[in-house]
């Protein structure tokens, strides 16, 4: 009888033990599935957005572009007698030039064609060159080792660099920004350092400025990478990005 009691006790304890273990196992599994779902959702969102930008840039180039050029051509072909009329036509021509210039700028902002044609580093160099003369921060790009990045990741890394540079210019009030690229063991490493005023990461994340930071983190996540941010008020800001590219 004693043995039977012991048996029953063991049996029941075993049952309860299994229940507890199952509780933990299942909650961990569901959580992981959920996180994966979230990541896929973010990835889909970002991909849709980039595709949209590509499409709009393409539309500008293929639909609006030729029409405007044709209009300019036609206008400059019109023969007019009076000087006033000719001036009107010339002015119109200049306006058209401005429109085409704006379209060029918009298209370039949406999706720099250099990225597709010459790759990531060239696009970044071009971007930095354009940024340099519009404001006062001194930006230096170091490429420690030539990096090769799969095509579909290039646009995201480019956007991240864009975001970091914009953040530095807008918020950091820095004098110098250094950006370094390297590759090691199948990982792309990007390290940026500025001597600006730094910021309190917690505070920024919870305010509206945090949008840019959060998008940085999202992009890094969908690339399966790691983003480390080091910043303190008065101490400059360091970004460190590590992304697998093998």
């Amino acid at each position: 009888m004693e043995a039977k009691v012991l048996n029953i006790t063991l049996f029941v304890s075993l049952i309860l033990g299994i229940i507890i273990v199952y509780f933990f196992v299942s909650i961990i599994r569901y959580h992981r599935r959920y996180v994966k779902l979230q990541r896929e959702k973010i990835f889909a969102e970002i991909t849709i957005r980039e595709n949209e930008r590509k499409r709009i840039a393409g539309d500008l180039h293929d639909s609006l572009g030729p029409l405007l050029s044709a209009v300019k051509l036609n206008i400059s072909s019109v023969e007019v007698e009076s000087v006033d009329d000719r001036e009107v036509l010339e002015k119109t021509g200049r306006y058209l030039d401005e429109i085409i210039g704006s379209m060029r700028r918009i298209s370039h902002d949406l999706l720099p064609s250099t990225l597709e044609r010459k790759g990531l580093l060239e696009a970044i160099r071009e971007f930095l060159l354009q940024v340099k003369n519009k404001q006062s921060v001194n930006i230096q790009l170091y490429v420690v080792k030539e990096i090769t990045v799969p095509k579909e990741k290039e646009i995201h890394i480019f956007r991240m660099v864009q975001e970091i540079v914009h953040n530095t210019i807008k918020h950091a009030h820095a004098h110098n920004l250094q950006i370094g690229f390297s590759e090691e063991g199948g990982y792309l490493l990007c390290l940026t350092k500025d001597d600006g005023q730094g910021f309190d990461k917690e505070k920024v994340l919870s305010s509206s400025h945090g949008l840019g930071l959060r998008s940085l983190e999202s992009r890094c996540e969908i690339l399966n990478g790691v983003l480390t941010l080091d910043s303190a008020p008065g101490g400059g800001t360091h970004y460190f990005i590590k992304i697998p590219v093998s």
């Binding site: 030729p66 300019k72 051509l73 036609n74 085409i100 298209s107 010459k118 071009e126 060159l129 354009q130």
Partner: protein, 244 residues
């Protein structure tokens, strides 16, 4: 000039009545562009010009090759991005068969490195598609004389790309010497200042500045500001960072 057998896809415009005096001087040219609207406008404009004869239009690189084979024009105005065979490929093939043909590239925005590739492939000049009638004619005439033509809408970025490329941007191998004053003016021209502004900055009159400008253009053997920029970059009169 041969009109050539009418091929199914190419369109030949009716030829003007041959003008004996002008016949030798008329430049025969063909145009190629995959955007029909622009091509029609260009064809219409060119057909009204006395100095040129339009021998035909093509909608892509392969059509262009066939057209060039049939009509053997003096000059080709071609878009760069075209289906089937693009401008760069077509240019290389055309120049292999008919090395005397002069090619001018037509480009829309955001195609700067393609323009450079066209130049490296043997084009003698380029035009942005928002060029006006005057500039198009100027380009045709300049290239016909054997010189290089840079569109006046050239951006500083494109200029630096050209300078860095394999394209030999100038006939003269050795750069002429410029006085210090001329160098100052060159730098200001490169920074897109008008003659009036340059005059204000250097305490000169507008007319003096224009005189300098003409002399500079002559010395460099270029036609417009774009040419000045490219020359200045190539011969290190000005650095890339100063104009971008």
């Amino acid at each position: 000039m041969e009109a050539g057998a009418a091929l199914p896809q190419t369109r030949l415009l009716p030829q003007k009545k041959p003008n004996f005096i002008g016949m030798k001087n008329r430049i025969s040219l063909v145009i190629a562009d995959d955007h029909e609207i622009f091509r029609d406008g260009l064809a219409l404009m060119l057909s009204k010009q006395e100095a040129v004869t339009l021998a035909g239009q093509a909608g892509d690189g392969e059509e262009l090759l066939r057209l060039v084979d049939t009509t053997r024009p003096d000059m080709v105005l071609t878009d760069i991005k075209m289906p089937r065979l693009d401008g760069i490929g077509a240019a290389k093939l055309i120049l292999k068969r008919y090395p005397d043909t002069k090619i001018i590239a037509l480009s829309m925005f955001e195609e700067e490195d393609l323009i450079v590739e066209m130049l490296e492939a043997g084009a003698k000049g380029y035009l942005l598609k928002n060029a006006d009638k005057r500039e198009i004619l100027e380009a045709i005439l300049t290239v016909n004389e054997g010189n290089i033509f840079y569109c006046k809408h050239t951006t500083a970025h494109l200029a630096s790309l050209i300078v860095k490329s394999k394209f030999d941007s100038h006939k003269k191998a050795v750069g002429p010497l410029f006085t210090d004053r001329e160098r100052e003016i060159i730098k200001l021209i490169c920074r897109q200042h008008t003659a009036q502004e340059i005059g204000d900055l250097l305490f000169l009159s507008k007319r003096t500045v224009e005189g300098y400008r003409t002399r500079i253009l002559e010395k460099m053997d270029v036609k417009n500001t774009a040419g000045v920029v490219i020359f200045a970059l190539k011969h290190s009169i000005i650095k890339e960072e100063e104009i971008l």
